[in-house]
Symmetry: D2
Amino acid sequence: MSGNTLGKIFKLTTFGESHGSAIGGVIDGCPAGLSVDFEYIQQQLQERKIDPLAINSRKEEDAVEFFSGIFEGKTTGTPIGFLIANKDLQEIDYQQEKTILKPSHAHYVYWKKYGIFDHRGGGRASARETASRVVGGCFADMLIRQYNIEIETFTLQIGKVCTPYQWTELLLEKASENVLHCPDKQIAKEMLNELQNVKDQQDTVGCVVGGMIKNVPIGLGSPVFDKLSADLGKALLSINATKGFQYGAGFEAAGKYGSQINDKFDENFRTKTNYSGGIQAGISNGENIYFSVAFKPLPTLSQTQQSVDIYGKEAVLQPKGRHDICAAPRVRAVIKAMTAMTIADHLLQYLTYSK
Amino acid sequence: MSGNTLGKIFKLTTFGESHGSAIGGVIDGCPAGLSVDFEYIQQQLQERKIDPLAINSRKEEDAVEFFSGIFEGKTTGTPIGFLIANKDLQEIDYQQEKTILKPSHAHYVYWKKYGIFDHRGGGRASARETASRVVGGCFADMLIRQYNIEIETFTLQIGKVCTPYQWTELLLEKASENVLHCPDKQIAKEMLNELQNVKDQQDTVGCVVGGMIKNVPIGLGSPVFDKLSADLGKALLSINATKGFQYGAGFEAAGKYGSQINDKFDENFRTKTNYSGGIQAGISNGENIYFSVAFKPLPTLSQTQQSVDIYGKEAVLQPKGRHDICAAPRVRAVIKAMTAMTIADHLLQYLTYSK
Amino acid sequence: MSGNTLGKIFKLTTFGESHGSAIGGVIDGCPAGLSVDFEYIQQQLQERKIDPLAINSRKEEDAVEFFSGIFEGKTTGTPIGFLIANKDLQEIDYQQEKTILKPSHAHYVYWKKYGIFDHRGGGRASARETASRVVGGCFADMLIRQYNIEIETFTLQIGKVCTPYQWTELLLEKASENVLHCPDKQIAKEMLNELQNVKDQQDTVGCVVGGMIKNVPIGLGSPVFDKLSADLGKALLSINATKGFQYGAGFEAAGKYGSQINDKFDENFRTKTNYSGGIQAGISNGENIYFSVAFKPLPTLSQTQQSVDIYGKEAVLQPKGRHDICAAPRVRAVIKAMTAMTIADHLLQYLTYSK
Amino acid sequence: MSGNTLGKIFKLTTFGESHGSAIGGVIDGCPAGLSVDFEYIQQQLQERKIDPLAINSRKEEDAVEFFSGIFEGKTTGTPIGFLIANKDLQEIDYQQEKTILKPSHAHYVYWKKYGIFDHRGGGRASARETASRVVGGCFADMLIRQYNIEIETFTLQIGKVCTPYQWTELLLEKASENVLHCPDKQIAKEMLNELQNVKDQQDTVGCVVGGMIKNVPIGLGSPVFDKLSADLGKALLSINATKGFQYGAGFEAAGKYGSQINDKFDENFRTKTNYSGGIQAGISNGENIYFSVAFKPLPTLSQTQQSVDIYGKEAVLQPKGRHDICAAPRVRAVIKAMTAMTIADHLLQYLTYSK
């Protein structure tokens, strides 16, 4: 069971490796009649390529080619097959990865699990795959926008530079004013400095990225195993390099008392506070859903690393190949996509109850 | 899509409300030929009832009755149906919940989603349901123990009382010496004091509970959406009152550099450090898997709470009914069960690749 | 993957063996707010026990006990767990089945697949399991009746006694006038004679049972793999002793020309003929859906049978135990249940498209 | 839930319409390390284009392009994405289908279900989609051939020309000697004459196609809902234009007595007869599995047809476009593919029990 499909009703199946001729996917279960906003799709793929420090990372045009499921500009209800060409390939860079294991990277476990590994650029484990997720997420987004649901994402921490934990709308509105979508302009600058510092050190750095979902109808999510929070957690934890997920008060809730953070209702059934983070007992309660995701420093470094080869001999990895130094700038688009697909899937499930 | 089934090959479906005559479930996909350790099952259900402070919570015998899938003491490969009677029922306690909405509780969202709600003791949203998960988890555990896989759980934080984040085996071995399975004896005492304090204040308190999985074969987990870490996260986030999940270095990883926490291989392909937490690129790498889960303070309080009723009028909730004051003591057994089922499911999926 | 769950949104999971203390199941995904017609459920379970020839088959009360998912007479949207006790047990009858393999029966393949077999009364392979399907089917039926969808079933053939293939409503209306629900009164008598003859010969006999579904909305079914016809076929072929399924013109269509059996539209988009059987390209077209299912003679005979034991030695099976001589009388209720659940599942899937 | 994915472990997802620029699919769950026989894939796609009468049907090169999941000639365990270009497009032919409904065709139900329809060449409902199934089937076949499992298919009936129902190996061996793979050379000639006759009449004709699966291990299939026979039935009934499925004695079993067709064991646990058709109680028993599938006459005719347009007005369909006159010659390759994928999926499920 290879697990390359996400969702129960709104489904995305992806395929493709870093250095194959193309990656792509199939979106199944997208309702018919949606006007396809092709510009929006390309714009979201652009978002996934944000590169504020001119890192020497891969340059791809990421022009999506669609083969099916769209007719005269609208979805038809049949599966949407698409490809994104891999053009900027430099196979020569990856010769050493044929035999030398990269620390904290996928090579070793793929090799042991499958007995074979496409070593070029990380193969299937490359974050290149997430471009297909962005395409799927755009269709989900086009669907949920019809219900006025909106998703925004934010950089909350890069290395030691950390936004104070504040989920107020005011700050969020300012997020789009800087390239990192950090809700605080001054901290955004410090984050960029930290990124420059990391680049200079030929190192990589971890981060926390947050998201907010607005206008979710009350009732999305199933009560026991398929809680909206559990499915959202799974979707986001399936992104490369993630180490943690929290929503609402998150890990901070562990230090609180019930009398402090129970969310009291007002007379319109809105809650006066939102420590719950918009999900109660696994089901959306109509308040804003907010969450954050922790990412480890990306494991490929621009400095030499001690390692072993597949024969168990000591070996040195040279800093070839191209890679990012922090997930934050580019992963926001992926988080938005995964969030949109989770909400779309639960929205369609929810409609089966709407009689 | 009600989402009451967990797993793809090793599956548990549960049913039952807090105040129905019984709860229960069906385990499907458990391999044939396992010797059923009935004592272990009852012992794990006992673990789920640990009550170090003699809280006035529900007293249930929790004797499981099995109906199928077991013959002459062994599993037969057919589904295992079981019931656990609800005996200690006090319906009178819950009259006010018919109309008054409990803050940060399930009532409101069930009412809006389904138009109907079994208000007695939280209905389906009660943690009573987790007893069925423990039964499923025991069968999973009986399966994975055949591969020497072991799961342990620990209390890491209660309110402000916090274990220093240390995943060393020495401390873990000491965990079973105290009722909370806290890896530090002194901190365990402080935690119990904090619980007594919370009880005295008629309040509830949040917590963090950790887990460790040892001897997991290399290769469990699927590379993209069904990463072992993502499925483990979903399983644990499906437990009542969870607010977050992290594994390996977790949210701490966000503050680190790649050169600090990349896990270097030794000549036996073991890693010298384990910041990855035993899962690399979504696939187990043979090192110990460790994780932690954040729980909010349980929302039912022993003090009066201001709220509104279903007509939007202000109302006061009286502190009737029985409830716990912190998830930690009892939820460890549930975390173990959810972990065991996730590992069992991925283990069986893994066997399809073993040719 | 044990495959004891049917459906994607409206789901039934069953458990239980012939001679365990009870069988049962869990219905998940049934919408909230349905009034539960308990009398109808017991009446359908009665239909499954029709015994026109006073065959010496098992006598069970089949009183269903519900544990969850129903509150104040209505479904709540949470899973419905239920049990049906096995009371009329005669374990002594089945001693020889411990070692002697019954021809054309499940024992051998279970033994080889699982290495263990509950030999009493066929264990999990017993048609006893179908009582749980009838319960699930009743909830599906209560749902689809809200859309005016109706299901009727008919005996079309018993041994050589065969109804002329006629799907006209006139004949069908007469079906309920005889115990076999054969659409022709005279042929019904011949069928009963044939059953008496088979009983006298201590033999069993095959049959064909048909069904009709009326008032299905246009649009149920998915275009490619999950065609309504394919899912209906799977559901019905999952009933014990089935050997074939056809719908619309069925196998007769193989001998026809397109110009003969293309169904022409009238001006209201209704078809003037219905050789398609109400499903076009896998999707319901608003016409009546009709189908038939072939059953082999039940393999347990009231005469001695030559066989081998599990050591490969020749052995003689004595005609102990209780069994039916033809599937037709009792299986109609099961066919109705499987049909209702298939339609309910596709109806709920369909509602996800209804924007 | 669009239902464009087949299988639980070995999965195929397809996409594409008749007149898009390409069709394609994703194979997920194919084990790693299989040598990919590219020639075999193209040869099977050729089989799907057999055209013994030089019918004016579409001419496609059907060269498959693979994008992923294959490295240095072997499968890697990651999903295999592929495309097949649509080159021989004649859009002008399909103008009338924009508004006139074709009898017994998909147009009407797609229009009503989705509100939109790609009318060119049948859109998603075109049998063009089955080319992707053949690709998926080839990978399944490469897998199951490692277990010596073989699949053969046969033409058993075309219109009134019918092979006597005989499942003996002798006849089957002769099947490959004629283009229709009819097990009787003389009847094969009559079938070709019948096809010529149908072509001359500008009509189409129904057929029955059979299949045999040899060397299936004992134990494939799950006992209750996911019986091997039920899943095989569903897979085959999902092929365009099918009206029925039977296996073993099939509908003939309805006319038989148990004493006639119970399959007695010999001392090696092989059965002396095989009326069961290799599947007992839903589980393979080690004997040959054989089945047959009924197809209606293809609905597109080379003669004018009376119909209505989407406004309900009478209209005449002109015989434009290209189409086959009988499913039999080309559908054999599709039946083989669907059979191979069903067996592969159950084989992989079976391996999870192989303790």
